[in-house]
Amino acid sequence: MSDAVKNAAGSPVVKNAAGSPVVKNAAGSPVVKNTAHDLAVKDAAGSLVEVDGLTVDFGGLRAVDGLGFRLERGAALALVGESGSGKSTVASALLGLHRGTGAEVGGTIEVAGVDVGRASEDVLRRLRGGTAAMVFQDPLSSLDPYYAVGDQIAEVYRVHTRASRRAARARAVEVLDRVGIPDAVRRSRSRPHEFSGGMRQRALIAMALACEPELLIADEPTTALDVTVQAQILDLLHTLREETGMGLLLVTHDVGVAAESVDEVLVMRHGRQVEHGSVTEVLGAPRQPYTRELLGAVPRVDAPRVTGAGSGAEAGEKSGAGSGAEAGAGSGVEAGAGSGAESGVQAGAGSDTGSDAGSGAGSDGSGEPVLEAVGLHRVFGRGKKAFTAVDGVSLTVRRGETLGVVGESGSGKTTLGRMLVGLLEPTAGEVRHDGHTRVGVDPAVQMVFQDPVSSLNPRRSVGESIADPLRARGERDETRIRARVRELLERVGLEAAHHDRYPHEFSGGQRQRVGIARALAADPRVIVCDEPVSALDVTTQAQVVALLAELQRELGLALVFIAHDLAVVRQVSDRVAVMRRGRIVEQGPADQVYDHPQDPYTGQLLAAVPALDPEVAARRRSARRRAARREPATI
């Protein structure tokens, strides 16, 4: 690919130095005039994106409120915020995607000299995909399931060029190859469902690259992906940016992802700008309390568990900026710059509180085992289609401890969790409860599910949902049930008056609290939490994690915490088991596993976690590149 030259210097009319027929914007004369006009504007202003006083209203609801920023050519800016902060709305506004949806857009947006607010439909269409291309969050639903991936890219390419069908198809293969799809000619004929998540995201990026845009807008491009795949995609974006000189606007809720990928960060909340500056300034020395709170809530993978006997967590829930969390924010980026080894500095600070004060019994192996898995196997399907999801897993959960189970999607962790609870029967092996083999479901082992939306029946009040385990146990006295449910609601930080409300009236975090209350209703001794916080914003996530810790301490619960997020698992677990392809590759005390991983896979996982410090991120990236050169990554 020799087209690295083109952008900044090259004329935007004939783009591809490689000589393929990339005459941008089909060649009609008004187009040429328009391009000339673009050039004039560009010379005057220079910035790739200029947003000023942007407001977006959805029927009286203000999603974006007076936002302004600038993005220079070739630069990278991240819009960071929690859900509902308006960051994705801004991204859509840059391409004029709010037109005709009923949303009211105010202020001015200029992208590569085009006034998005006033541009004609034609100019706008050329901007979309031609000058500025967008990569969406969910790579499965963002591609048409009915057409071959190559055809979809070719279709977009043909919209913006006058290329023949054949040339467009060739271009599709070229960009697919460029983003690292192996055997691109053959794979370009595959449908999206035949691609893995990472490959789909690569295909979307290929589509974005097809017309050599000057600006790439990436809306949560890695949120749906595993951590190792995420690292590969972020590296890919980084390389592409280096080679093509395109600007990047990254929309993300993940501060780590932002730190990895951009030069500037704009923190958003409630549609407004909270803080804007270089990535080192904003993440290293945040000036605004909200930024500090956000950073504080981000779980650290390179710092030991901050227990603080729950006080930090509780404070975090109330004031938003917990003491433990703040310490993390301060040191995580600066002192922790050295990563891995240096985290000993923090370990020193954290270890006095962090040595499992409350539930100490667990980690040193002296606690009595409440739940044991012995040689668990689970096979789905039969014959040739048989698939072994869990392949010989043995583990022990002791009273009052938290066992973290971490692994990427498809590693079998959910299947394991379901077998522990008794929702699935193991194909071989057994689950022992207090030393006895257990058959079927046991009320003493409860489960909290991942998706707080779909795991509650939308047609029943939360009170009824929470009462289910009570009724299942044979409780018939309505007043006693009601009293117990009220008590449980208050126990998980909700109000007793919420009893008769329905799930849709609650926020995500509140719904997960309802889920926890339901699990508590049966007086369990063990709760298996399957990705309990992965659908939640970081600050909410921190609150739910704190609640679980508090319940564990007070009720002496044992927790099995299943998650794909290595940092969260480290922050909640006494011991950690790392799963891959149905097996546990490594198991041990959390700090040992994280600081001195024995299995190469664990090391690989840890290296893929985005670092909050840009310098560390850069160092890890080059390390990953060296590793990738040795053995080509396949995803």
Binding site: R126, G130, L143, D144, V156, H160, E194, L204
Partner: protein, 332 residues
Amino acid sequence: MNGFGGFAVRRAAGAVVTLFALSVIIYVVFYVTPGDVAQITCGPRCSPAQVQQVSAQLHLDDPLYARYWHFLQGIVAGQDYSTGTSVQHCSAPCLGLSYQSDQQVLTLILAKLPVTASLALGSMVLWLVIGVGTGVLSVWRRGRLTERVLTTVTLAGMSTPVFVIGLVLMIVVCGQLELLPFPQYVPFTEDPEQWAWNLLLPWLSLALIESATYARITRAAMLETLAEDHVRTFRAYGVGERAVIGRHALRGALAPLIAVNANNIGVLFGGAVLTETLFGLPGIGREMVEAVKVVDLPVVVGMVLVTGFFVVLANAVADVLYALADRRVVLT
């Protein structure tokens, strides 16, 4: 399209089971239906002795299971029937003889099938063109007057009986304007042009009614697809509305269209009773009505089995089309 052989075998086996069950049900239903079949078959002026003779000849005195066994034997091995004076051989897949005419049921059905098939296939083409076209148009002009008018018209179409539309068409086109002669079936093999002209009105009346359903399905499925993420992707890449609707949204409507169409066409092959009666087309539907009226059990069973066969066949074809339209579908 892996495992197509396995799919075909499974479907064929399924069809046999379905048809077997159908025939049992029909036998039982007719067995318990009141009415003296022998009397009806013989005619009102038969003497009791003659009725007795007919009854014996048609095995009407045998118990149900014996008659059913007889029927199965005919299908597998063929059957000889004595019609009083001569013996008629009915070879292997033998569905029996009509009580009324002593004709072989299969011959009878095969003679009527071209009429019904002409009607069904022709109107299918029309209703797909009209229905899908209307659906696409109302999506294209959504939120405007065109859409509201089309929605109202299709609702009216869905709730109009075929004999109303058919009658109106006949009165206006043939009676008042005299553009066409009153329909009279001409076989395709005799004169294709006359065949088409004579079937035009029956096709139209069936298609107009059915196309309302298709318009609604198309519209609903396309609107649903338009709200999906991948459509947003193509809009965000500057793909025009025409391509978004024509390529991406319409493709999403394919699956429900295939499903409904398969069912419709399968049932129509069993005879469009109202349309055939109204336009005097000698198809399976009209024959069926006649057979039921005189309790001609072999003919009724045969017709039901033919309908069942076409429904099963149409659904199998639909499944193959599904898999072709959406590669995520695996044939099982």
